[in-house]
Amino acid sequence: MSGRERILGRVRRALADVAPDDRPYGEAVPRDYLREHGRRTVEETVELLAENLADYRAVVHRGTEDRLPALIGRLLAERGSREVLVPAGLPPAWTAAADAVRVDDRAADTPQRLDRVDSVVTGCAVAVAETGTIVLDGSPDQGRRRISLVPDHHICVVRVPDQVVSSVPQALERLDPGRPLTWISGPSATSDIELDRVEGVHGPRTLEVILLG
């Protein structure tokens, strides 16, 4: 007998004593929890996102479309970045004012190559105000998962208010489970030493979020 048949058989025997339950899934679970916590205006939601991002040590900037290239150029220069990774669909204007050399996100590049790049600039799919989270879904302006992971400095541009939601339930509604998703809340951190949060382990140690609106 295969492991599969054995396990399924065991499950069925284990449940033999339970009364039949034909309630459909939709009725089995009460959903009387909140869709979002508290009522806020759009501006207040964006403000909460900024607060919660900063609370987990992301550096928050605000920008407008026309001043964005200069802002990104400045952030890269302050960091001393010589090379910056860009996903294929990132608007070219965003990095037009940067001195750093643009490195395209290509499938053929080895992880070692990515490790030599100083910074990466991406867009995002959605941002969650209540938790201070940005979610990347691999769209053309965000690129492969590894590019926002290996470089030590990540600049993420969030379009406000369009890409901002209040809560986790609202974020999941907007996301496509078929895409590879990465939820990011602040820079890499650990609680492994004495259960206290320390920033900076394997992922980017500096996360800068630009709220573009």
């Binding site: 396990i7 065991r10 089995a28 959903r31 987990y56 998703l181 990465t182 949060r197």
Partner: protein, 492 residues
């Protein structure tokens, strides 16, 4: 579960050493008290916590009720998305499958994301025997692996180590496994994290095979979810060409939407954060992004036996947040090693004896590793009534009775060492059924009360060593009732 903890002494004996280790006591007190206050704050931010907890409980119960259906649906979704699903009835079968998959890649080393399931089956040791080296990449797991130590906490396996001890382990051992720690390494957490970053970097970048567990699997979409902090998970999940995930069958949830509950309750319960730094979700494979091959190994290893127990099956709701460990007064003092399992603390005390059975000394003692104070139930984000299951398992240990082991119905024999307890209970049952004998006995006890010892002799000594024997009254209650007509005569 496998051999890592074979020959462990019973909990009271193992805990005895731990409670006399002042460093360990200090480390645990510091860590658990830090997280307790923070968790309470994080949970307090959500006014609908009780509703989320209830929804989480109901989702898990519903899934377990229809587990066969959801596992089949999951298999179909994962396969449709480009993954391959394997089924492992026990630890050996899971280890064989993983070792074969690694061998087929031609590689002899793998990088691992922290995973309770692979700890439970002893995967690292099994791979080592096949000539495959497994590198743990979670900071705490790295500390445990370098120190040739055992995990003592679900979330923070090195919680029993303080920063000074961690620095010493890094200085001494890192060189044997790869890049050594810097010579001038201090014990500041940031420097320790930096040392781990440098040490593991080369391993991540060259890794061709990654091994993980998962926090959730969505049947409807075939999506797997890994919740983590450091980014080591993302490294292992995205850089290698082959990804193998070993996941307990109880980790399945029906729908994508169910994540909206657990992604709110898990981070706040475990690390007391609004959200953990990184959560990865993947569905099969994606062209030109991440691993080209994805294998999911569904693990039973005692879970269906647990499912067969009407009271005990609720333990399968567990989402491994470890909040119950952090609030437990017994865990705080005894530490994780005394539980003799990768699952320590209150949840371990109900999970290990169910996954492994109660045949060994340590497993038969675990249901007693509790004062039944109920703090664990209070904080549990899926409302597992741990005290209820503890009492149920105590009964099973003492009385024996029907149970399911490896899918087969068995009748457990009453455990040894509880003979006195059983004899006392039998005597009590007889006495309460014979009022005349009960009255005679009570009168005799009252008259001889000045002669009663303060502590019990023989095997009863351990029990009365920490308790006062109740004083016997000068007159049995029923005699007093009859004499005074229930106190109506005003007599004393």
């Amino acid at each position: 579960m496998t051999g890592t903890f074979v020959g462990m002494p019973a909990f009271p004996k193992a805990a005895h050493d731990a409670v006399h280790d002042p460093t360990l006591r200090g480390n645990l007190r510091h860590a658990t008290h830090t997280i307790r206050a923070k968790r309470a704050r994080a949970v307090g931010e959500l006014s609908d916590w009780a509703a989320l907890r209830e929804a989480g409980r109901r989702i898990k119960d519903h899934t377990l009720r229809h587990l066969d259906r959801y596992l089949l649906q999951l298999e179909e979704s994962v396969t449709a998305a480009g993954g391959t699903v394997h089924w492992a009835a026990d630890a050996d079968e899971a280890n064989r499958i993983v070792a074969r998959l690694v061998r087929e890649t031609g590689e002899s080393e793998v990088v691992k994301v922290k995973s309770m399931a692979t700890q439970e089956i002893g995967l690292n040791e099994a791979l080592e025997a096949e000539g495959i080296r497994a590198y743990e990449t979670d900071l705490a797991e790295l500390i445990v692996q370098l120190g040739e130590d055992r995990p003592s906490h679900i979330l923070v396996p090195a919680i029993h180590r303080n920063r000074g001890e961690i620095r010493d382990i890094f200085r001494k051992e890192m060189g044997r496994w790869g890049r050594p720690a810097p010579d001038d390494l201090t014990d500041t957490p940031a420097e320790l994290a930096e040392a781990a970053r440098l040490h593991l970097r080369e391993k991540f970048l060259r890794a061709k095979v990654g091994i993980s567990g998962a926090n959730f699997m969505v049947a409807e979409t075939g999506t797997l979810v890994v919740v983590e902090s450091e980014g080591n998970g993302r490294m292992c999940l995205t850089l290698p060409e082959t990804l193998i995930s070993v996941v307990g069958i109880e980790k399945v949830v029906p729908a994508w939407r169910d994540l909206e509950v657990f992604l709110q309750t898990l981070p706040r319960s475990s690390t007391a954060e609004r959200m953990n730094p990184y959560t990865s979700m993947w569905t099969g494979t994606t062209d030109e992004d991440g691993p080209r091959a994805f294998h999911l190994v569904l693990l039973d290893n005692g879970r269906t036996d647990t499912l067969a127990d009407r009271v005990g099956r609720q333990a399968l709701r567990c989402i491994r947040c470890s909040a119950c460990l952090n609030v437990c007064p017994v865990y705080e003092r005894a530490g994780g090693h005394a539980y003799g399992s990768v699952y320590p603390g209150p949840i371990g005390a109900i999970l290990s004896p169910q996954l492994r059975g109660t045949a060994s000394e340590i497993d038969a003692s675990l249901p007693y590793a509790s004062s039944l104070c109920g703090a664990c139930y209070e904080v549990c984000p899926v409302a597992i009534d741990i005290p209820e299951v503890l009492v149920h398992l105590r009964e099973r240990v003492v009385e024996g009775g029907p149970a399911v082991r490896q899918g087969n119905k068995v009748v457990l024999r009453p455990a040894k060492g509880h003979a006195a307890e059983r004899a006392a209970m039998r005597a009590a049952r007889w006495a309460f059924g014979h009022p005349g004998a009960l009255r005679a006995g009570q009168r005799l006890a009252s008259r001889t009360r000045r002669l009663h010892p303060r502590t019990l002799p023989g095997p009863g000594r351990a029990w009365s060593g920490t308790r006062d024997l109740p004083a016997v009254p000068a007159e049995p209650f029923r005699d007093w009732w009859q004499r005074t007509r229930g106190g109506k005569d005003g007599a004393e």
